[in-house]
Symmetry: C2
Protein backbone atom coordinates (compact mmCIF):
# COMPACT_ATOMS: atom_id res chain seq x y z
CA UNK A 1 0.00 0.00 0.00
CA UNK A 2 1.44 3.37 -1.00
CA UNK A 3 0.76 6.69 0.61
CA UNK A 4 -0.59 9.25 -1.82
CA UNK A 5 1.02 12.64 -1.15
CA UNK A 6 -1.27 15.41 -2.27
CA UNK A 7 0.70 18.45 -3.37
CA UNK A 8 -1.13 21.68 -2.52
CA UNK A 9 -2.48 23.37 -5.65
CA UNK A 10 -2.92 26.96 -4.40
CA UNK A 11 -0.92 29.42 -2.34
CA UNK A 12 -3.56 29.51 0.41
CA UNK A 13 -3.64 25.72 0.71
CA UNK A 14 0.15 25.40 0.62
CA UNK A 15 0.60 28.02 3.35
CA UNK A 16 -2.09 26.35 5.50
CA UNK A 17 -0.45 22.91 5.25
CA UNK A 18 3.02 24.36 5.92
CA UNK A 19 1.71 26.31 8.94
CA UNK A 20 0.01 23.18 10.33
CA UNK A 21 3.17 21.12 9.76
CA UNK A 22 1.57 18.69 7.31
CA UNK A 23 3.69 19.77 4.30
CA UNK A 24 7.40 20.21 4.94
CA UNK A 25 9.05 19.38 1.58
CA UNK A 26 10.81 21.77 -0.79
CA UNK A 27 8.25 23.78 -2.76
CA UNK A 28 9.31 23.20 -6.39
CA UNK A 29 6.17 22.04 -8.21
CA UNK A 30 3.86 23.11 -5.36
CA UNK A 31 0.91 25.40 -6.29
CA UNK A 32 1.74 25.38 -10.02
CA UNK A 33 1.82 28.79 -11.74
CA UNK A 34 1.75 30.61 -8.39
CA UNK A 35 4.56 33.04 -7.64
CA UNK A 36 7.03 31.70 -5.06
CA UNK A 37 9.56 34.00 -3.41
CA UNK A 38 12.92 34.13 -1.71
CA UNK A 39 12.73 35.47 1.84
CA UNK A 40 15.18 37.90 3.50
CA UNK A 41 14.37 39.32 6.94
CA UNK A 42 16.52 42.14 8.36
CA UNK A 43 16.36 44.65 11.22
CA UNK A 44 14.70 47.99 10.38
CA UNK A 45 17.96 49.92 10.64
CA UNK A 46 19.21 48.10 7.51
CA UNK A 47 15.90 48.18 5.64
CA UNK A 48 16.31 51.41 3.64
CA UNK A 49 19.78 50.46 2.39
CA UNK A 50 18.64 46.94 1.50
CA UNK A 51 15.51 48.15 -0.32
CA UNK A 52 17.67 50.68 -2.18
CA UNK A 53 20.12 47.88 -3.07
CA UNK A 54 17.20 45.92 -4.54
CA UNK A 55 15.93 48.98 -6.44
CA UNK A 56 19.38 49.46 -7.98
CA UNK A 57 19.78 45.77 -8.84
CA UNK A 58 16.34 44.65 -10.01
CA UNK A 59 17.58 41.66 -12.02
CA UNK A 60 19.14 39.76 -9.08
CA UNK A 61 16.84 41.38 -6.48
CA UNK A 62 13.30 41.76 -7.85
CA UNK A 63 11.05 42.94 -5.00
CA UNK A 64 7.66 41.21 -4.97
CA UNK A 65 6.56 42.62 -1.59
CA UNK A 66 8.06 44.20 1.52
CA UNK A 67 6.34 43.58 4.87
CA UNK A 68 6.70 46.60 7.17
CA UNK A 69 8.57 46.51 10.50
CA UNK A 70 7.09 44.02 12.96
CA UNK A 71 4.25 43.03 10.64
CA UNK A 72 3.92 39.37 9.66
CA UNK A 73 1.23 39.37 6.92
CA UNK A 74 2.04 39.83 3.22
CA UNK A 75 -1.09 41.95 2.76
CA UNK A 76 -0.68 42.54 -0.97
CA UNK A 77 0.41 39.16 -2.32
CA UNK A 78 -0.67 36.64 0.36
CA UNK A 79 -3.50 37.95 2.58
CA UNK A 80 -3.85 36.17 5.95
CA UNK A 81 -0.34 34.77 5.66
CA UNK A 82 2.10 34.76 8.60
CA UNK A 83 5.77 34.99 7.66
CA UNK A 84 6.72 33.44 11.03
CA UNK A 85 5.02 30.11 10.19
CA UNK A 86 4.28 29.90 6.46
CA UNK A 87 7.73 28.83 5.25
CA UNK A 88 8.53 25.20 6.01
CA UNK A 89 12.20 25.73 6.90
CA UNK A 90 14.15 28.89 7.79
CA UNK A 91 17.80 29.74 8.29
CA UNK A 92 18.93 32.13 11.02
CA UNK A 93 22.26 34.00 10.76
CA UNK A 94 23.85 36.13 13.50
CA UNK A 95 26.72 38.44 12.49
CA UNK A 96 26.94 36.51 9.21
CA UNK A 97 27.19 33.08 10.90
CA UNK A 98 24.61 30.32 10.37
CA UNK A 99 23.20 29.48 13.82
CA UNK A 100 19.87 27.67 13.39
CA UNK A 101 17.44 26.07 10.90
CA UNK A 102 14.03 26.33 12.64
CA UNK A 103 10.58 25.31 11.37
CA UNK A 104 9.04 28.58 12.56
CA UNK A 105 10.23 31.97 13.79
CA UNK A 106 8.31 32.31 17.05
CA UNK A 107 11.47 32.40 19.18
CA UNK A 108 13.28 34.82 16.85
CA UNK A 109 10.57 37.35 15.95
CA UNK A 110 11.08 41.01 16.89
CA UNK A 111 9.07 44.16 16.29
CA UNK A 112 11.85 45.76 14.25
CA UNK A 113 12.13 43.02 11.61
CA UNK A 114 11.37 43.88 7.98
CA UNK A 115 10.60 41.06 5.53
CA UNK A 116 11.62 41.21 1.87
CA UNK A 117 9.93 38.81 -0.55
CA UNK A 118 12.06 38.58 -3.69
CA UNK A 119 11.10 36.92 -6.98
CA UNK A 120 12.57 33.47 -7.68
CA UNK A 121 13.34 31.58 -10.85
CA UNK A 122 10.42 29.13 -10.69
CA UNK A 123 8.14 31.51 -12.64
CA UNK A 124 10.50 32.06 -15.53
CA UNK A 125 11.54 28.40 -15.62
CA UNK A 126 7.91 27.54 -16.23
CA UNK A 127 7.90 30.09 -19.06
CA UNK A 128 11.02 28.49 -20.56
CA UNK A 129 9.48 25.02 -20.43
CA UNK A 130 6.22 26.29 -21.90
CA UNK A 131 8.33 27.44 -24.83
CA UNK A 132 9.83 24.00 -25.41
CA UNK A 133 13.11 24.58 -23.56
CA UNK A 134 14.15 21.56 -21.52
CA UNK A 135 15.47 21.94 -17.95
CA UNK A 136 16.67 18.47 -16.96
CA UNK A 137 17.17 19.35 -13.28
CA UNK A 138 13.56 20.58 -12.92
CA UNK A 139 11.46 18.48 -10.56
CA UNK A 140 14.54 16.48 -9.47
CA UNK A 141 16.63 16.86 -6.33
CA UNK A 142 19.38 18.48 -8.40
CA UNK A 143 19.67 22.26 -8.57
CA UNK A 144 20.59 24.64 -11.37
CA UNK A 145 24.34 25.53 -11.47
CA UNK A 146 25.14 28.96 -10.01
CA UNK A 147 28.33 31.01 -10.38
CA UNK A 148 29.85 34.07 -8.72
CA UNK A 149 30.68 36.49 -11.57
CA UNK A 150 32.93 39.52 -11.93
CA UNK A 151 29.84 41.68 -12.62
CA UNK A 152 29.68 44.14 -9.74
CA UNK A 153 26.24 45.02 -8.38
CA UNK A 154 25.41 48.71 -7.87
CA UNK A 155 26.21 49.28 -4.17
CA UNK A 156 23.79 50.91 -1.71
CA UNK A 157 24.84 51.94 1.79
CA UNK A 158 26.79 49.04 3.30
CA UNK A 159 25.60 46.53 0.69
CA UNK A 160 27.85 45.65 -2.26
CA UNK A 161 29.37 42.61 -3.95
CA UNK A 162 29.46 40.52 -7.10
CA UNK A 163 26.38 39.27 -8.95
CA UNK A 164 25.61 35.56 -8.71
CA UNK A 165 24.06 34.03 -11.85
CA UNK A 166 22.33 30.77 -12.68
CA UNK A 167 23.33 29.01 -15.90
CA UNK A 168 21.25 26.96 -18.31
CA UNK A 169 22.22 25.23 -21.56
CA UNK A 170 19.88 26.41 -24.30
CA UNK A 171 19.70 24.96 -27.82
CA UNK A 172 21.09 27.51 -30.28
CA UNK A 173 17.77 27.78 -32.13
CA UNK A 174 15.93 28.50 -28.84
CA UNK A 175 18.17 31.29 -27.51
CA UNK A 176 16.10 34.16 -28.93
CA UNK A 177 12.92 32.53 -27.60
CA UNK A 178 14.55 32.16 -24.16
CA UNK A 179 15.31 35.91 -24.13
CA UNK A 180 11.77 36.77 -25.16
CA UNK A 181 10.06 34.39 -22.74
CA UNK A 182 12.02 35.59 -19.69
CA UNK A 183 11.93 39.30 -20.65
CA UNK A 184 8.22 39.20 -19.85
CA UNK A 185 9.03 38.53 -16.17
CA UNK A 186 11.33 41.30 -14.84
CA UNK A 187 10.10 40.56 -11.31
CA UNK A 188 11.48 37.02 -11.46
CA UNK A 189 14.97 37.96 -12.73
CA UNK A 190 13.86 38.84 -16.28
CA UNK A 191 16.06 38.61 -19.38
CA UNK A 192 19.51 36.96 -19.31
CA UNK A 193 22.50 39.03 -18.22
CA UNK A 194 24.83 37.22 -20.63
CA UNK A 195 24.78 34.76 -23.52
CA UNK A 196 27.64 32.61 -24.75
CA UNK A 197 31.04 33.19 -23.14
CA UNK A 198 31.45 32.27 -19.46
CA UNK A 199 34.91 33.89 -19.32
CA UNK A 200 33.42 37.26 -20.33
CA UNK A 201 31.65 37.47 -16.96
CA UNK A 202 34.48 35.99 -14.89
CA UNK A 203 33.52 32.31 -14.92
CA UNK A 204 36.68 30.27 -15.47
CA UNK A 205 35.27 26.73 -15.30
CA UNK A 206 31.67 26.08 -16.28
CA UNK A 207 31.91 22.51 -14.97
CA UNK A 208 32.64 23.76 -11.45
CA UNK A 209 29.72 25.87 -10.16
CA UNK A 210 30.00 27.85 -6.90
CA UNK A 211 26.52 26.69 -5.82
CA UNK A 212 24.07 24.06 -7.08
CA UNK A 213 24.94 21.08 -9.26
CA UNK A 214 27.00 20.53 -12.40
CA UNK A 215 25.04 20.45 -15.67
CA UNK A 216 27.15 19.18 -18.56
CA UNK A 217 26.75 20.31 -22.14
CA UNK A 218 25.05 17.56 -24.13
CA UNK A 219 26.04 18.69 -27.62
CA UNK A 220 27.85 21.50 -29.41
CA UNK A 221 24.62 23.21 -30.38
CA UNK A 222 23.91 24.17 -26.76
CA UNK A 223 24.78 27.71 -25.70
CA UNK A 224 25.39 28.69 -22.05
CA UNK A 225 22.90 31.40 -21.01
CA UNK A 226 23.19 33.24 -17.68
CA UNK A 227 20.46 34.84 -15.58
CA UNK A 228 20.79 36.98 -12.45
CA UNK A 229 20.18 34.81 -9.40
CA UNK A 230 18.36 35.36 -6.10
CA UNK A 231 21.40 34.10 -4.22
CA UNK A 232 22.93 37.54 -4.91
CA UNK A 233 20.97 39.55 -2.31
CA UNK A 234 21.50 36.86 0.33
CA UNK A 235 25.26 36.70 -0.25
CA UNK A 236 25.51 40.50 -0.39
CA UNK A 237 23.49 40.95 2.80
CA UNK A 238 25.42 38.23 4.59
CA UNK A 239 28.80 39.69 3.70
CA UNK A 240 27.82 42.86 5.59
CA UNK A 241 27.44 40.61 8.68
CA UNK A 242 24.15 41.98 9.97
CA UNK A 243 23.51 41.37 13.65
CA UNK A 244 20.46 39.24 12.65
CA UNK A 245 19.31 37.96 9.26
CA UNK A 246 16.71 35.31 8.58
CA UNK A 247 16.12 33.61 5.21
CA UNK A 248 14.19 30.65 3.85
CA UNK A 249 16.16 27.41 3.69
CA UNK A 250 17.15 26.70 0.06
CA UNK A 251 14.21 25.26 -1.89
CA UNK A 252 11.71 26.06 0.86
CA UNK A 253 10.15 29.16 -0.66
CA UNK A 254 7.27 31.41 0.47
CA UNK A 255 4.25 30.83 -1.79
CA UNK A 256 2.03 33.81 -2.67
CA UNK A 257 -1.47 34.03 -4.14
CA UNK A 258 -0.12 35.82 -7.23
CA UNK A 259 -0.12 33.92 -10.51
CA UNK A 260 2.98 34.07 -12.71
CA UNK A 261 1.07 36.03 -15.34
CA UNK A 262 0.27 38.72 -12.74
CA UNK A 263 3.97 39.66 -12.92
CA UNK A 264 4.25 39.67 -16.72
CA UNK A 265 4.96 43.12 -18.16
CA UNK A 266 3.50 42.41 -21.59
Amino acid sequence: MTTQITVPQTGIEARRQIREGTFLQPTSGVAPRHVQTNVAILPKELAFDFLLFCQRNPKPCPVVEVIEPGRVEAVLTAPESDIRTDVSLYRVFKNGEFVDEPKNLHSYWRDDLVTFLLGCSFSFEYALMANGIELPYYGTERNVPMFITDIETAPAGQFSGPMVVSQRWIARDKVVRAVQATSRFPETHGAPVHIGDPAAIGISDISNPDYGDVWLQENRDQVPVFWACGVTPQSVAMSSKPELMITHSPGHMFITDLMDEDLAVL
Copy 2:
Protein backbone atom coordinates in the same frame (compact mmCIF):
# COMPACT_ATOMS: atom_id res chain seq x y z
CA MET B 1 18.04 91.07 -35.36
CA THR B 2 16.70 88.06 -33.46
CA THR B 3 18.37 86.17 -30.65
CA GLN B 4 18.79 82.50 -31.39
CA ILE B 5 18.07 80.44 -28.27
CA THR B 6 20.00 77.21 -28.41
CA VAL B 7 18.19 74.45 -26.57
CA PRO B 8 20.65 72.02 -24.94
CA GLN B 9 20.73 68.71 -26.77
CA THR B 10 22.20 66.44 -24.06
CA GLY B 11 21.70 65.90 -20.35
CA ILE B 12 25.26 67.00 -19.55
CA GLU B 13 24.90 70.23 -21.52
CA ALA B 14 21.45 70.99 -20.08
CA ARG B 15 22.65 70.49 -16.51
CA ARG B 16 25.73 72.66 -17.16
CA GLN B 17 23.67 75.55 -18.54
CA ILE B 18 21.11 75.27 -15.73
CA ARG B 19 23.90 75.20 -13.11
CA GLU B 20 25.53 78.30 -14.65
CA GLY B 21 22.18 80.09 -14.80
CA THR B 22 22.15 80.44 -18.60
CA PHE B 23 19.12 78.18 -19.16
CA LEU B 24 16.18 78.72 -16.83
CA GLN B 25 13.11 77.73 -18.91
CA PRO B 26 10.86 74.70 -18.43
CA THR B 27 12.55 71.59 -19.79
CA SER B 28 9.93 70.17 -22.18
CA GLY B 29 11.74 69.62 -25.50
CA VAL B 30 15.19 69.99 -23.92
CA ALA B 31 17.74 67.21 -24.57
CA PRO B 32 15.36 65.22 -26.79
CA ARG B 33 15.04 61.48 -26.05
CA HIS B 34 16.86 61.90 -22.73
CA VAL B 35 15.05 60.76 -19.59
CA GLN B 36 13.80 63.67 -17.46
CA THR B 37 12.63 63.11 -13.88
CA ASN B 38 10.41 64.45 -11.16
CA VAL B 39 12.35 65.34 -8.00
CA ALA B 40 11.28 64.67 -4.40
CA ILE B 41 13.72 65.35 -1.54
CA LEU B 42 12.86 64.18 1.98
CA PRO B 43 14.64 63.73 5.32
CA LYS B 44 16.23 60.31 5.89
CA GLU B 45 13.74 59.36 8.60
CA LEU B 46 10.99 59.25 5.94
CA ALA B 47 13.10 57.65 3.21
CA PHE B 48 12.32 53.96 3.84
CA ASP B 49 8.57 54.53 3.96
CA PHE B 50 8.66 56.71 0.84
CA LEU B 51 10.82 54.24 -1.11
CA LEU B 52 8.46 51.46 -0.03
CA PHE B 53 5.48 53.57 -1.15
CA CYS B 54 7.13 53.90 -4.57
CA GLN B 55 7.86 50.16 -4.73
CA ARG B 56 4.20 49.40 -4.01
CA ASN B 57 2.93 51.96 -6.52
CA PRO B 58 5.30 51.70 -9.48
CA LYS B 59 2.87 53.18 -12.02
CA PRO B 60 2.50 56.60 -10.37
CA CYS B 61 5.92 56.44 -8.65
CA PRO B 62 8.51 54.84 -10.95
CA VAL B 63 11.93 55.16 -9.28
CA VAL B 64 14.69 56.09 -11.75
CA GLU B 65 17.35 56.71 -9.07
CA VAL B 66 17.63 57.40 -5.35
CA ILE B 67 20.54 59.54 -4.13
CA GLU B 68 21.68 58.45 -0.66
CA PRO B 69 21.49 60.69 2.45
CA GLY B 70 23.50 63.88 2.10
CA ARG B 71 24.86 62.96 -1.34
CA VAL B 72 24.17 65.34 -4.24
CA GLU B 73 25.34 63.39 -7.33
CA ALA B 74 23.08 61.03 -9.29
CA VAL B 75 25.95 58.59 -9.79
CA LEU B 76 24.04 56.06 -11.87
CA THR B 77 21.99 58.21 -14.24
CA ALA B 78 23.74 61.60 -14.27
CA PRO B 79 27.43 61.36 -13.23
CA GLU B 80 28.95 64.68 -12.06
CA SER B 81 25.51 66.17 -11.50
CA ASP B 82 24.65 68.20 -8.39
CA ILE B 83 21.01 68.01 -7.30
CA ARG B 84 21.42 71.33 -5.40
CA THR B 85 22.06 73.31 -8.61
CA ASP B 86 21.05 71.26 -11.66
CA VAL B 87 17.31 71.94 -11.57
CA SER B 88 16.39 75.44 -12.74
CA LEU B 89 13.61 76.05 -10.21
CA TYR B 90 12.74 74.26 -6.95
CA ARG B 91 9.87 74.39 -4.50
CA VAL B 92 10.40 74.15 -0.75
CA PHE B 93 7.63 72.98 1.59
CA LYS B 94 7.71 73.03 5.39
CA ASN B 95 5.10 71.01 7.26
CA GLY B 96 3.18 70.74 3.98
CA GLU B 97 3.17 74.52 3.35
CA PHE B 98 4.82 76.08 0.27
CA VAL B 99 7.46 78.52 1.59
CA ASP B 100 9.95 79.27 -1.20
CA GLU B 101 10.78 78.80 -4.91
CA PRO B 102 14.60 79.07 -5.04
CA LYS B 103 16.95 78.69 -8.04
CA ASN B 104 19.33 76.48 -6.04
CA LEU B 105 19.33 74.59 -2.75
CA HIS B 106 22.51 75.91 -1.14
CA SER B 107 20.66 77.47 1.79
CA TYR B 108 18.39 74.45 2.32
CA TRP B 109 20.76 71.52 1.93
CA ARG B 110 21.27 69.14 4.87
CA ASP B 111 23.27 65.96 5.36
CA ASP B 112 20.14 63.91 6.07
CA LEU B 113 18.31 64.67 2.81
CA VAL B 114 17.51 61.80 0.43
CA THR B 115 16.70 62.59 -3.21
CA PHE B 116 14.20 60.54 -5.22
CA LEU B 117 14.28 60.88 -9.02
CA LEU B 118 10.97 59.59 -10.40
CA GLY B 119 10.12 58.95 -14.05
CA CYS B 120 8.01 61.57 -15.84
CA SER B 121 5.66 61.41 -18.78
CA PHE B 122 7.95 63.06 -21.33
CA SER B 123 9.47 59.71 -22.35
CA PHE B 124 6.19 57.97 -23.01
CA GLU B 125 4.68 61.03 -24.70
CA TYR B 126 7.50 60.87 -27.20
CA ALA B 127 6.65 57.19 -27.74
CA LEU B 128 2.98 58.08 -28.32
CA MET B 129 3.87 60.75 -30.87
CA ALA B 130 6.33 58.39 -32.61
CA ASN B 131 3.32 56.11 -33.08
CA GLY B 132 1.23 58.81 -34.77
CA ILE B 133 -0.77 59.84 -31.70
CA GLU B 134 -1.24 63.62 -31.52
CA LEU B 135 -0.78 65.51 -28.23
CA PRO B 136 -1.94 69.07 -28.99
CA TYR B 137 -0.62 70.52 -25.69
CA TYR B 138 2.90 69.20 -26.33
CA GLY B 139 5.47 71.95 -26.81
CA THR B 140 2.91 74.64 -25.83
CA GLU B 141 2.50 76.41 -22.51
CA ARG B 142 -0.58 74.31 -21.81
CA ASN B 143 -0.34 71.18 -19.66
CA VAL B 144 -2.03 67.79 -19.85
CA PRO B 145 -5.27 67.56 -17.78
CA MET B 146 -4.82 65.71 -14.47
CA PHE B 147 -7.50 64.31 -12.15
CA ILE B 148 -7.67 62.98 -8.60
CA THR B 149 -9.30 59.53 -8.87
CA ASP B 150 -11.00 57.20 -6.40
CA ILE B 151 -8.26 54.61 -7.03
CA GLU B 152 -6.46 54.22 -3.71
CA THR B 153 -2.71 53.78 -3.76
CA ALA B 154 -1.20 50.95 -1.69
CA PRO B 155 -0.20 52.71 1.55
CA ALA B 156 3.27 52.43 3.13
CA GLY B 157 4.03 53.74 6.61
CA GLN B 158 2.54 57.22 6.88
CA PHE B 159 2.08 57.61 3.11
CA SER B 160 -1.35 56.98 1.56
CA GLY B 161 -3.87 58.70 -0.65
CA PRO B 162 -5.66 58.62 -4.01
CA MET B 163 -3.91 58.13 -7.35
CA VAL B 164 -3.69 61.17 -9.62
CA VAL B 165 -3.93 60.41 -13.36
CA SER B 166 -3.23 62.33 -16.55
CA GLN B 167 -5.79 62.07 -19.35
CA ARG B 168 -5.31 62.06 -23.11
CA TRP B 169 -7.86 61.77 -25.90
CA ILE B 170 -6.82 58.92 -28.20
CA ALA B 171 -8.43 58.07 -31.57
CA ARG B 172 -10.33 54.81 -31.21
CA ASP B 173 -8.17 53.07 -33.82
CA LYS B 174 -5.00 54.09 -31.93
CA VAL B 175 -5.99 52.90 -28.44
CA VAL B 176 -4.35 49.47 -28.72
CA ARG B 177 -1.19 51.07 -30.11
CA ALA B 178 -1.19 53.56 -27.21
CA VAL B 179 -1.29 50.67 -24.72
CA GLN B 180 1.53 48.85 -26.51
CA ALA B 181 3.75 51.92 -26.93
CA THR B 182 3.52 52.95 -23.27
CA SER B 183 3.74 49.40 -21.87
CA ARG B 184 7.37 49.39 -23.02
CA PHE B 185 8.17 52.13 -20.48
CA PRO B 186 7.12 50.97 -16.97
CA GLU B 187 9.65 53.40 -15.46
CA THR B 188 7.85 56.39 -16.97
CA HIS B 189 4.32 55.41 -15.77
CA GLY B 190 3.88 52.52 -18.25
CA ALA B 191 0.53 51.25 -19.56
CA PRO B 192 -2.74 53.13 -18.93
CA VAL B 193 -4.60 52.51 -15.68
CA HIS B 194 -8.01 52.96 -17.34
CA ILE B 195 -9.58 53.30 -20.78
CA GLY B 196 -12.98 54.77 -21.56
CA ASP B 197 -15.20 55.70 -18.63
CA PRO B 198 -14.07 58.59 -16.40
CA ALA B 199 -16.83 57.85 -13.85
CA ALA B 200 -15.46 54.34 -13.32
CA ILE B 201 -12.38 55.82 -11.63
CA GLY B 202 -14.19 58.60 -9.77
CA ILE B 203 -13.90 61.44 -12.31
CA SER B 204 -17.26 63.22 -12.44
CA ASP B 205 -16.46 66.00 -14.94
CA ILE B 206 -13.78 65.45 -17.57
CA SER B 207 -13.96 69.13 -18.57
CA ASN B 208 -12.86 70.19 -15.08
CA PRO B 209 -9.39 68.80 -14.28
CA ASP B 210 -7.93 69.09 -10.77
CA TYR B 211 -4.54 70.13 -12.22
CA GLY B 212 -3.31 71.22 -15.65
CA ASP B 213 -5.49 72.50 -18.47
CA VAL B 214 -8.76 71.47 -20.07
CA TRP B 215 -8.46 69.39 -23.24
CA LEU B 216 -11.80 69.12 -25.06
CA GLN B 217 -12.85 66.10 -27.10
CA GLU B 218 -12.64 66.94 -30.80
CA ASN B 219 -14.86 64.18 -32.14
CA ARG B 220 -16.85 61.15 -31.00
CA ASP B 221 -14.15 58.75 -32.15
CA GLN B 222 -11.80 59.93 -29.40
CA VAL B 223 -11.59 57.78 -26.27
CA PRO B 224 -10.37 59.13 -22.91
CA VAL B 225 -7.32 57.17 -21.75
CA PHE B 226 -5.83 57.61 -18.27
CA TRP B 227 -2.25 57.11 -17.11
CA ALA B 228 -0.85 57.18 -13.55
CA CYS B 229 0.71 60.60 -12.93
CA GLY B 230 3.85 61.76 -11.12
CA VAL B 231 1.80 64.30 -9.17
CA THR B 232 0.65 61.33 -7.05
CA PRO B 233 3.84 60.89 -4.95
CA GLN B 234 4.12 64.64 -4.41
CA SER B 235 0.53 64.99 -3.24
CA VAL B 236 0.79 61.87 -1.08
CA ALA B 237 4.06 63.02 0.51
CA MET B 238 2.74 66.53 1.06
CA SER B 239 -0.44 65.32 2.74
CA SER B 240 1.73 63.68 5.43
CA LYS B 241 3.08 67.20 6.17
CA PRO B 242 6.79 66.34 6.39
CA GLU B 243 8.89 68.83 8.34
CA LEU B 244 10.83 69.54 5.08
CA MET B 245 10.16 68.50 1.49
CA ILE B 246 11.77 69.88 -1.64
CA THR B 247 10.56 69.26 -5.20
CA HIS B 248 11.23 70.60 -8.69
CA SER B 249 8.94 73.43 -9.75
CA PRO B 250 6.35 72.10 -12.25
CA GLY B 251 7.88 71.75 -15.72
CA HIS B 252 11.43 72.28 -14.45
CA MET B 253 12.61 68.68 -14.45
CA PHE B 254 15.98 67.07 -13.66
CA ILE B 255 17.59 65.83 -16.90
CA THR B 256 19.60 62.59 -16.81
CA ASP B 257 22.08 61.07 -19.24
CA LEU B 258 19.79 58.06 -19.79
CA MET B 259 18.07 57.75 -23.15
CA ASP B 260 14.38 56.83 -23.23
CA GLU B 261 15.20 53.47 -24.82
CA ASP B 262 17.45 52.65 -21.83
CA LEU B 263 14.23 52.33 -19.80
CA ALA B 264 12.33 50.19 -22.32
CA VAL B 265 11.56 46.68 -21.05
CA LEU B 266 11.27 45.09 -24.49
